[in-house]
């Protein structure tokens, strides 16, 4: 028969399922803590000592929510750094294409290339100062960069026109970075949703 400490540790593992490595590490650490606390209780050894140790520790969902909030902060920081690098690389790639093509033909593709990039940059700068965890702002930036990069590549028609290596490399770099950025934005969305579930009141699943 499992005791209050075993039940609590199992519940904490479940709540921290979004990060298996953390769940494993913390489960051992928390179990040690709870056994120390139970042994220090005047009514030890008894199930009551275990129950009181668990009660003093706090709800597993609230502890997991704290970890989830910290994980969102770290993930958001990584996403913003990736966005900044992607913007710089996209700008460089855009300039390299313009120098190589050496034209200013007014057609739809260069306009999309330029204005989608400017939109992404402007939204990014505003969002950085106003709301750093805004998924919508990041999604707009990502959309702007995807539009800019696609239009730039279509406009230059790199392979058909025999683009030099530095232009091809810069295009490959911006495509790779936008892929990494998409991965981060999707991941951040998932983390925000999980955190919201953990913070939702009235969902105590551990019967404390």
């Amino acid at each position: 028969m499992s005791g209050a400490i075993d039940d609590y540790v199992a519940s904490l593992r479940r709540e921290l399922a979004f990060d298996p490595a953390l769940a494993g590490r913390l489960a051992s650490e928390v179990e040690d803590h709870l056994r120390d606390a139970a042994e220090a209780d005047p009514v030890w050894p008894s199930p009551e000592a275990e129950r009181r140790a668990v009660e003093r520790f706090g709800l597993s969902r609230e502890i997991a929510a704290q970890f989830a909030i910290d994980a969102v902060d770290r993930h958001a920081r990584r996403t913003w750094i990736t966005l900044a690098v992607t913007v710089v690389v996209t700008f460089i790639a855009m300039r390299l294409r313009v120098i190589w093509l050496d034209d200013d033909v007014l057609s739809l593709a260069p306009l999309i290339d330029r204005y989608a990039f400017i939109t992404a940059l402007a939204v990014g700068v505003i969002a950085w100062f106003a709301f750093r965890q805004s998924l919508a702002a990041l999604a707009i930036c990502l959309g702007g960069l995807v539009a800019s990069i696609s239009a730039g590549i279509v406009r230059a028609d790199l392979f058909a026109n025999g683009a030099p290596v530095h232009v091809l490399l810069s295009a490959a770099g911006e495509v790779a970075l936008v892929g990494v950025l998409s991965f981060h934005v999707i991941g951040l969305g998932r983390r925000l949703r999980r955190t919201a579930v953990l913070r939702r009141p009235g969902l105590e699943r551990e019967g404390q």
């Binding site: 953390l22 590490r25 913390l26 051992s28 650490e29 928390v30 040690d32 803590h33 056994r35 120390d36 606390a37 003093r56 520790f57 706090g58 709800l59 597993s60 609230e62 502890i63 704290q66 970890f67 910290d70 770290r74």
Partner: protein
């Protein structure tokens, strides 16, 4: 209000030497004479956050006649951060004291 200062309190607790989670929360309770009565589990997200920031380091240790424990130590960056937070707290508390005393004058 305490939660906003928990990281600094944890850093200060580890200034005297390495300790595991249970010892840290017990020290906090003793030093505050029971005033800081947070749920004990609250200290673990703070420890993890501080470790991620490079202000603490941790390692599993097994005493000769005890159970395995993760022990946390203050890093050099952690000591520096603690100094900064002490200064910031000192400025803040002086400002609050002055503001509160101002009404009595």
């Amino acid at each position: 209000m305490l939660k906003g200062h928990l990281d600094a309190i944890v850093l200060a607790t580890l200034e005297v030497g390495p300790a595991h989670g249970y010892a840290i929360i017990e020290t906090i309770k003793q030093r505050s004479a029971g005033t800081f009565d947070l749920p004990e589990g609250t200290v673990y997200p703070a420890l993890h956050r501080l470790e991620q920031a490079g202000l603490l380091s941790s390692a599993w240790t097994t005493p000769p006649n005890g159970r395995r424990r993760r022990v946390y130590s203050l890093t050099k960056a952690g000591s520096a951060a603690l100094g900064e937070r002490r200064k910031a707290w000192s400025r803040f508390s002086q400002a609050v004291d002055t503001a509160l005393e101002g009404g009595r004058a």
